[in-house]
């Protein structure tokens, strides 16, 4: 249950919270300098979700509700943490409840300028 998502947030409470809630692999910072488009976000999310759910990426339906995949809360918060890391932007830990599918998250990220300006 180690937390390998490096965080800019150094508050002890948040780090402990994150240690409990996230866990598992991190994919690192997004290298591209162009604005994030829906397809890139969708494919990234598909890969991350597939890894966490131990499913082949092609079995992930981007329109399907996260909860139907058996995504528990700790994983959901972990994914938004990983996404935060990838984009280098703070995101809500409850992002995956506000936007309940890959398509919804990708659309949100592509539309929100503060999430793509690097």
């Amino acid at each position: 249950m180690s937390d390998r998502t490096s965080s800019t947030d150094t508050s002890l409470l948040k780090r402990l919270g994150r240690w409990f809630k996230s866990g598992d692999a991190a994919t690192g910072r997004r290298a591209a300098t162009t604005a994030l488009d829906v397809d890139e976000a969708r494919e990234w999310l598909r890969g991350v979700l597939a890894a966490r759910l131990e499913l082949p990426p092609e079995q992930i339906d981007t329109a399907r509700n996260f909860e139907e995949y058996g995504l528990d809360s700790r994983t959901a918060v972990g994914v938004s943490g990983e996404l935060e890391e990838w984009l280098g932007k703070p995101l809500s830990p409850t992002l995956l409840w506000d936007c309940p599918s890959i398509d919804a998250v990708a659309a949100y990220l592509a539309e929100a300028p503060e999430a793509t300006s690097g």
Binding site: E67, G70, D72, P93
Partner: protein, 316 residues
């Protein structure tokens, strides 16, 4: 998330199956929560039998039992799961922290599972019913085991989109949910520090950890689990409900009122579970005190008429 989440088989609304990784993690957490306090309670018992526990250990046990059972019953159960009253930020935070110290799972997990229990009480989808395993003596035992402990190892998840929508949106509660492990640890550290300081020894800290920490968690949890197991099996049933919930006064005393499970299923959002003055509901009595002090408000209580109408005729 949308409200039409279904199982793999599409049967029970709001219940999904955890991914393999999520299920492994849940089982590991459940195993630690169940095994560690119960095993270390044996060591506490051994020390007590050898006369190596005194009034300090008794006091640490009592204070920590009081803190965590009121946190679980008044906080997790009646405030967060049922919204039976309203409280300010400080008291809400206090109840979330002491409730987490009971080691019954983080806030949203607790509330979502409990709301699911009410949605499907003693029917398929109930996370901890003792009555869904069959009628043979062996099946009844398996049901009791499942309702008491086994349910924590289940692959089923309670969908927050269905059962915890309001709670996910409250940043303060979500933060308290995420920091659960910290509060459990604090509930073990405090009695250890107090024991070490009062005895001026490392062994005193160990005694405090055992009696105020581990034995306390084990007994608080058995009392709470008995609400789900025993109180859906053995007791009186003064109210008409569509389940097997019963009132068991012994469990009610130990679990600070929650053993009045038939009352509670008849009036789920009532802040007090005791509806007669003689029904043991220590948490309900504390709630009355807090309301009188003005620390909580909008305390939910069913009208005498509603109580009379729901009562099975001829019962006390």
């Amino acid at each position: 998330m949308s409200g039409n989440v279904s199982t793999a088989s599409g049967e029970v609304r709001g219940v999904t199956l955890a991914s393999p990784a999520a299920h492994r993690r849940q089982c590991m957490l459940a195993l630690i929560t169940v095994a560690l306090p119960n095993l270390l309670s044996l060591e506490a018992l051994r020390l007590a039998l050898e006369g190596r526990a005194g009034w300090i250990e008794a006091a640490l046990f009592a204070v920590m039992y009081l803190l965590s059972i009121t946190g679980a019953t008044i906080g997790m159960h009646r405030l967060f799961a049922h919204r039976a009253f309203e409280a300010g930020a400080a008291l809400t935070t206090w109840l979330a922290i002491t409730g987490s110290m009971a080691a019954q799972g983080p806030l949203l997990f607790w509330a979502a599972n409990h709301r699911r229990h009410h949605a499907y009480s003693d029917r398929p989808g109930d996370p901890h019913s003792p009555n869904l395993h069959g009628r043979s003596p062996r099946a009844l035992c398996r049901g009791l085991w499942h309702a008491h402990i086994g349910w924590m190892f289940s692959r089923e998840l309670s969908a927050w989109s269905v059962f915890a929508r309001d709670l996910v949106q409250q940043r303060r509660l979500f933060r308290l949910h995420q920091t659960y492990v910290l509060w459990v640890a604090l509930g073990l550290l405090l009695p250890a520090l107090a024991g070490g300081w009062l005895h001026r020894s490392w062994f005193g800290a160990w005694q405090g950890f055992l009696f105020g920490g581990m034995l306390r968690i084990a007994l608080v949890n058995h009392a709470s689990w008995a609400v789900g197991s025993i109180c859906h099996r053995w007791g009186s049933k003064p109210f008409r409900t569509h389940d097997h919930s019963v009132n068991n006064h012994l469990v009610a005393l130990l679990a600070f009122g929650e053993g009045l499970q038939n009352n509670h299923h008849a009036f789920p959002s009532a802040a007090r579970h005791g509806l007669r003055w003689w029904e043991p509901d220590p948490s309900g009595w504390l709630i009355m005190l807090l309301a009188r002090l003005g620390w909580i408000w909008n305390v939910n209580h069913p009208s005498p008429g509603a109580i009379a109408r729901a009562r099975v005729e001829g019962t006390a």
